[in-house]
Symmetry: C2
Subunit: 301 residues, 2 copies
Amino acid sequence: MVIRNHYASLDPAQRGWMDDVPSYMPPIALGDAVRAASVGVVHASARPDFAVGDWVMGMNAIEDFSVAQPGSLPTKIDIARVPSPTNYLSAIGVTGLTAYFGLLNHGQPKAGETMLVSGAAGAVGSVVGQIGKIMGCRVVGIAGGGTKCDRLRREYGFDAAIDYRGKSADRLAAEIAGVVPEGADIVFENVGGTILDAELMNIAQNARIILCGLISEYNHPEPAGARNLRQIFIKSATLEGFLFVEHTSQFAEAAAEIGEWIADGKLRVDEDVQAGLENSYAAFMRLFSGENSGKLILKII
Amino acid sequence: MVIRNHYASLDPAQRGWMDDVPSYMPPIALGDAVRAASVGVVHASARPDFAVGDWVMGMNAIEDFSVAQPGSLPTKIDIARVPSPTNYLSAIGVTGLTAYFGLLNHGQPKAGETMLVSGAAGAVGSVVGQIGKIMGCRVVGIAGGGTKCDRLRREYGFDAAIDYRGKSADRLAAEIAGVVPEGADIVFENVGGTILDAELMNIAQNARIILCGLISEYNHPEPAGARNLRQIFIKSATLEGFLFVEHTSQFAEAAAEIGEWIADGKLRVDEDVQAGLENSYAAFMRLFSGENSGKLILKII
């Protein structure tokens, strides 16, 4: 089966797949197209269960056409159900589901708890914060720059937002302490580095730190590392990693609940759609410069 | 009540109490005696429930006599039950109970699993490794120097031992991979730094890392930090901190089980008893130079 890719997902995880370290997927080989989740249309099919013209999503690559690999067949999608086919890469795609499972299955938020979310204006963080509010938590976001912080408060309903730019871990820790004096019960971590260091100085007893990503490290051959791990035993806290693929059995249920929240106006999922295969590198780098806000997607055609 | 201290416990945790960082106890004030668990005898008592001559243990200090503080009364102990009163600081004291609760309550080892233990020749590590064997695990210890590694295999029954001295994180990671090719299901971490970095490169899917201590960091104002946290989400692992005081309700039960294991010859608890208040600094530093093996105790009289 050949798929005509229309949209490719651009995610920090792809940067991880480029490194030759033990991981949950083999590294992308030198010279290969960059692996990516994509949404597209069946262009040619030798399988009776997929017809030319069917919309599908799957793990393909940043390329015009992908040949479906044995063992990783795409999934048919119903684009009539959603405002845009890109939603299968955002709200009900990897990032929306990552936010949903990471927070609900691993963080287990309870009403009245306080949450800190880093990368809060990103595709995962913005959804995590809003689901936290739906669950009755007090939600504080950490993001880069005043514009993003304003957006967290005004558009995503965060209770407070902290701009990390230009601040040392100590300075950021003091600023968080001013906003979260009782300490955070849940930390949803997308960034690492000085942000994680500052958060660790502000965790409550028995805090749950959900480790979703460490975007600040991916482009550094020698990452700074987490310096305040001591707080994890001092506070009897837990740092828990997860991958969204562990929760496949709940995908349909989660997508349905996310869809309801969107329909009810409780959840807003923004997309940052950049056009053109030839712009894929510049578009991808928006993730690391902090330029993007919401789910970054490359429009191929 | 005044207590004549006979023995004081020397533990890495005391180094932590000397730092002015948010912790589970206030820092030891400059000029104060060094807070320590001690075993001693009631010297004078204004309380009807404690008689002069009663053996007690409690949180006191490295000093000849301690005045029991309101709210932290000592506990009476029965020294006829044990070979030496020091056992209340080792096998059935903080270190033995820390090993017991950390491994059993937090690590939840299952027969056939593989465990990595750092600081494996220490007071906590040596007990953790032996309890791991009792639970049917394959246990690999990491310790400093050939003598300690020999002791892990010969005296504590570890399946394998790795000497970390003089090795980079990469070199140590490669050595661990040779001994634990399938990855560790449980890591019991006492050390941090390059040892934790190397362990993280060798965890199995869904590994549980029990964070008990980070002794390599305590004397460094700017610790190196953990550089391989990425493996925690890559492997959907958990890093869990704990304090033994959370498990007070199980103290009696745990001490009884530890006592049985010792009586049955399944558990060996070594003590490194150094004599003389005037030697307390030199004795304490044995923890950080790696000279000590087993539970470090200061004999006061």
